[in-house]
């Protein structure tokens, strides 16, 4: 066992930090206030990601044939920690490198890989996930958006909701029903967002301007070649994608950095001498570091080539708790920083914490999965 970073890993971290110092503008915290989906951050990402790519820091974990150098998963996580904690200058493109790219590599056709992976590796590609629907959130397998086959194309009708980053996305990773009910009737389509019949409407939200949207599909024609995998084969592909997504975002690192900043502010204000404040800070710190260990365990398994396991669900639950512990600490002792715009980092952290337990599958779904897959408890009878 080794819980310290190697010189190579530490060197990589320093390289990313140096690049951030060089590339992030002075007003970056204000610019990134509304998160990866905002227009400002998306536009920034389209200039920033090519620079990352040029330094070999965008897709180092990808195989060489797709522009990477087959670096260990740890390297991708170190980069992810530094970038997410800095407010995610990759914008929505973090999704490409965390899980969409890997999913296309594993399940995509030769043509799909050739069409999409080079754009991702060049840092010029914005995607959204067409998953949740008005009547299918946690119960994703009940989705009703239909893709009806007509010759060598599909006609898609239906709607998606709470879709992150859809406003500026070029491509949608879309789930639609081609067959009967349940998991076995779903297929995945890679759909250009400029396809006629797609309408995107932003949803005013608590989690930053430009983050979540409604997406309507009205007789949208999608060629068969845009289908990822076979009809009815979506569920294992989704499982693969989600196993990478669940521990993809280094939320614990962002929370830890924000907590560090909060404590320094309290120290500067002379308010960190109170033992209760230290105690609460210690509790939030312990929550962050426990979450970090559970995430690292998943990365370690991935680095050793082990298949995805329920450990990722434990990590996700711990990360949600850590995010909220830090956000609550801020409300307790620095609530003044959550009004006005002097502390944009506190605000963006607070908003992401409230979303942490909901986005990419509710924390309660993670608890279900832990109960069944990790604790081997019997499934609850369903009506």
């Amino acid at each position: 066992m080794e819980f310290n970073w190697s010189d190579t890993e530490q060197g990589l971290r320093e390289k990313v930090r140096a690049l951030l110092l060089r590339e992030l503008p002075n007003d970056w915290e204000a610019l990134s206030r509304h998160g990866p989906g905002s227009r400002a951050q998306t536009e920034f990402s389209l200039a920033f990601c090519p620079k990352l790519a040029a330094e070999g820091l965008l897709v180092p974990h990808w195989p060489t044939e797709h522009g990477g150098r087959a670096a260990p998963p740890w390297e991708h996580f170190i980069i992810g920690e530094e970038l997410w904690a800095a407010g995610e200058p990759r914008g929505a493109q973090y999704m490409n490198v965390n899980f969409i790219g890997q999913t296309l590599m594993r399940y995509g056709s030769v043509a799909q890989k050739a069409q999409y992976l080079p754009q991702m590796a060049a840092g010029q590609s914005i995607w959204c996930q067409g998953f949740s629907e008005p009547s299918a959130g946690s119960d994703l397998a009940s989705l009703t958006t239909r893709a009806e086959r007509h010759g060598d194309a599909y006609i898609v009708n239906g709607s998606k909701v709470w879709t992150s980053y859809a406003g500026l996305a070029q491509t949608c990773f879309l789930l639609a029903r081609t067959g009967g009910p349940g998991k076995g009737g779903i297929a995945i389509f890679l759909v250009p967002m400029r396809t006629p019949g797609i309408t995107v409407r932003p949803i005013p939200s608590l989690i930053g301007v430009g983050d979540i949207h409604e997406v309507f599909f009205d007789n949208v024609a999608v060629p068969e070649s845009a289908r990822l995998g076979a009809e009815g084969q979506a569920w294992p592909i989704i499982g693969y994608a989600l196993s990478h997504e669940r521990v993809g975002i280094a939320r614990y690192e962002f929370s830890r950095r924000v907590l560090d900043r909060m404590v320094r502010l309290l120290q500067a204000r002379g308010l960190f001498e109170r033992e209760t404040v230290k105690l609460r800070a210690g509790q939030a710190l312990a929550a962050c570091e426990a979450a970090r260990m559970l995430v690292y365990r998943v990365v370690d398994q991935r680095a050793r080539g082990l298949p995805p396991s329920a450990d990722a669900n434990l990590a996700r639950v711990a990360v949600v708790a850590a995010d909220n512990a830090v956000a609550d600490f801020c409300v307790n002792y620095l609530s003044d920083t959550l009004s006005g715009d002097d502390f944009p980092l506190h605000l963006s952290h607070h908003e992401r914490a409230i979303a942490a337990g909901v986005a990419s599958g509710a924390a309660e779904i993670q608890l279900n999965l832990i109960a069944h897959d990790y604790l081997q408890l019997p499934r609850e009878a369903r009506p």
Binding site: F3, R264, A286, L294, L367, N368, A371, L377, P378
Partner: protein
């Protein structure tokens, strides 16, 4: 970063597990506490307490072994023997009892200890004791508990180069290992129960209300376990305080849930859950309890000496 045990570590821990399993006896007489001299001697005979000083095994193996012993419903003094004595006082006879600041408090393992270690301020003292020096104390905590009859008359010897801070660090790691071991075993026993026990025509463990709370318990225990192993590996004051503080802080909530799901069975002395619960309660209170550890962690993470450098942030 590497979470995998080495082959040597794995082999030793497997051997510890096998040895521990042989002592997982169902006790004929229900009792609050059972101290196993047999287990303690068996552990000593195979050199279990020397892991920390063997380079290929190290503190991580010692810590994981302490966790393994804590999983048993019976107890044996392993924490001080594995994580303190090997570097502090390897020549002294075991079992050990540790006294922090007070030498008149009821203390676990005193009735079986042959050496008592006392930490007062920066001073670390040791004394050899026998049963004649200790008064057994009846206790709800599932350890053999005793008080020194006359602490001042013991032949105390101050260890000249002993570092009290280091003793505290490793004691924190030991506490974290014991608590996570106890919680892990208690959780496993409750999982077994809720899979078997049927109410309303189905297993208790099929109710989502039960599942979610147990899933949260498992997440908390696993997180604490890895913080503990990390602390054993790095040995830093921050990691040690964080591991102990976290383990002590989560213990109450987990013990509550586990007893809820064990129901009245968990109130009996027949089922061993009470042993893990009550050992955890005492461990939770050690070294000033979770508040002391978490405040120490905060002080280690954010020393005030940094303050001058960051004054500008407030403006």
């Amino acid at each position: 970063m590497n979470f995998e045990l080495s082959e040597d570590q794995r082999a030793v821990l497997d051997a510890v597990d096998r040895l521990v399993e042989r002592h997982r006896t169902t006790l004929a007489v229900p009792e609050r506490c059972h101290y196993s001299v047999e287990l303690e001697r068996a552990l000593e005979a195979v050199g279990f307490f020397d892991c920390m000083t063997i380079e290929e095994l190290g503190t991580v193996t010692a810590c994981a072994s302490v966790m393994a012993v804590a999983r048993l419903p019976l107890c044996a003094e392993a924490a001080a023997s594995s994580l303190i004595a090997p570097w502090l006082c390897p020549e002294l006879p075991r079992p050990f009892a540790l006294l922090w600041n007070r030498d008149d408090a009821p203390t676990r393992y005193l009735p079986v200890a042959r050496t008592v270690i006392r930490v007062r301020g920066d001073s670390v003292d040791v004394a050899s004791i026998g049963t004649e020096h200790v008064k057994h104390v009846d206790s709800i905590f599932a350890y053999p508990m005793g008080v020194l009859r006359s602490a001042s008359s013991l032949p105390w010897r101050t260890l000249p180069n002993a570092d009290a801070t280091r003793v505290r660090n490793f004691w924190r790691i030991a506490l974290a290992a014991e608590i996570t071991g106890c919680l892990d075993a208690a959780l496993a026993s409750v999982l077994e129960h809720v899979k078997d026990r049927r109410q309303f025509g189905r297993p208790l463990g099929s109710f989502q209300a039960v599942q979610h709370r147990l899933a949260e318990c498992a997440t908390l225990v696993e997180g604490a376990k890895w913080l503990t192993l990390k602390a054993a590996s790095t040995g830093t004051a921050l990691d040690a305080a964080l591991a102990a503080g976290r383990a002590q802080d989560i213990a109450t909530r987990i013990s509550y849930d586990l007893h809820q799901f064990m129901g009245a069975m968990g109130l009996t002395l027949e089922h061993p859950l009470h042993r893990w619960t009550y050992r955890t309660k005492l461990l939770r209170a050690d070294l000033g309890g979770p508040d002391s550890q978490l405040i120490a962690a905060a002080q280690a993470a954010w020393p005030e000496t940094h303050r001058n450098a960051i004054e500008g942030i407030a403006s």
